[in-house]
């Protein structure tokens, strides 16, 4: 079965104009065209999106969980990296 499987694709959906694409899930497809259509059928049937990106999963390179300690923990005590010292105007949304 495994060798007959279509490749796996990661699907990114933009829910509306102005927002960014978010990872929605993954699916199998024979080619990019089919992947986009499958994504349309699987992930946008309840009006979830206005734009679709797909990328074959093998091209996604991920960080290793083993690196977590050296990757993320050093940021724990660097509070000065957060832009929390600014007063934001009320009109500013989505910050």
């Amino acid at each position: 079965m495994a060798e007959n499987q279509w490749p796996l694709w990661e699907v990114f959906i933009r829910s509306k104009q102005g927002l960014d694409h978010k990872h929605a899930g993954s699916l199998h497809a024979a080619d990019a065209q089919m992947a986009i259509e499958n994504a349309r059928d699987v992930y946008t049937r309840r009006m979830e999106g206005v734009s679709i990106w797909v990328v074959e999963s093998k091209y996604v390179h991920a960080s290793s969980p083993d690196d977590a300690t050296s990757f993320y923990e050093p940021a724990n005590d660097k509070v000065y990296r957060h832009p929390t010292f600014y007063d934001l105007p009320d009109e500013l949304k989505h910050m």
């Binding site: 699916l27 199998h28 089919m34 499958n38 059928d41």
Partner: protein, 276 residues
């Protein structure tokens, strides 16, 4: 045949095409070759059944306005005998879908053909969608505002069905030796039912004369162009002219429709008015 009777028949014809093909496609739900394609075909089934509902609702409205319901019209071909469940009780979309018999159904023969393998299901959808999109594009300009509105809305769905099925025809036609053979076998089985798509039934001649529906003979070249384009890319030979079987739109069906209705209508016939 009065104006409104032809309109009712035509509306039922459009509804029946959607319902029967939608039901056929829904038979794949849970059996698709892969999850994603199972969902794709189920979506198409739902689109088609949704279109059918709109047409049935309109047909029911026309029948109720025209006062054609009730026991005195038991033999009205638009209605069928199952609809006489009370004096002048209004006809509903459900009754039109679930309580008419085979000879009352006006769907074309193509849509009732069995699913066969994936190639046959795909090709059936492709041949039909190529027809339906050209039809809806023109029907959107109908003098009948309701039909025009339903056609305009459904056209967008049809375009996607056509795109999806076209790509599959190309993928299988231009795929492996086996997939190519299967696509050709499907073509052999289905081609003789395509002539009916552009052969007007009596009621279509009337609705066309009143600019309610397009002249089917003007759609045929557009259909051929679309089909030929995809066949060329798929490496499939566009078949030469052959004898075409017709009759579905006038209620003369192949043996397959009875099985569809038996399964689809069982619940409402065994438990009339059942809801869940």
């Amino acid at each position: 045949m009065t104006h409104s009777t032809a309109l009712i028949h035509y509306t039922l014809h459009l509804a029946d095409d959607g319902l029967i093909l939608g039901h056929r496609n829904s038979e794949w739900t849970g059996h698709g070759p892969i999850l994603e394609q199972d969902i794709a075909l189920s979506n198409i089934a739902l689109d088609l059944i949704g279109q059918a509902r709109n047409f049935y609702q309109y047909a029911a409205e026309l029948i109720n306005i025209g006062g054609l319901s009730g026991p005195s019209n038991i033999s009205n071909p638009a209605m069928g005998p199952g609809l006489s469940d009370g004096p002048r009780s209004p006809v509903t979309e459900d009754q039109l879908a679930y309580l008419r018999d085979g000879w009352d159904f006006k769907n074309c023969l193509l849509v009732e053909q069995g699913n066969g393998d994936w190639a046959k299901t795909i090709l059936r959808q492709f041949l039909f969608s190529a027809y339906q999109t050209t039809l809806y594009e023109k029907l959107a300009q109908s003098r009948d505002k309701t039909l025009a509105a339903i056609a305009a809305k459904s056209y967008k769905e049809g375009v996607y069905h056509l795109r999806w099925s076209s790509e599959w025809v190309i993928r299988l036609g231009d795929g492996t030796e086996e997939s190519h053979t299967r696509m050709n076998n499907a073509l052999d089985e289905l081609w003789k039912f395509t002539g009916e798509l552009h052969t007007a039934a009596t009621y279509e001649l009337e609705t066309a004369a009143k600019a309610i529906s397009p002249d089917l003979s003007t759609l045929q070249p557009l259909w051929k162009e679309k089909v030929k384009e995809v066949f060329d890319e798929a490496g499939i030979t566009y078949p030469p002219s052959v004898w075409m079987q017709t009759g579905g739109k006038e209620g003369r069906h192949t043996e397959h429709l009875g099985y569809v209705l038996a399964e689809m209508q069982f619940l409402q016939r065994a438990y009339p008015g059942c809801e869940w």
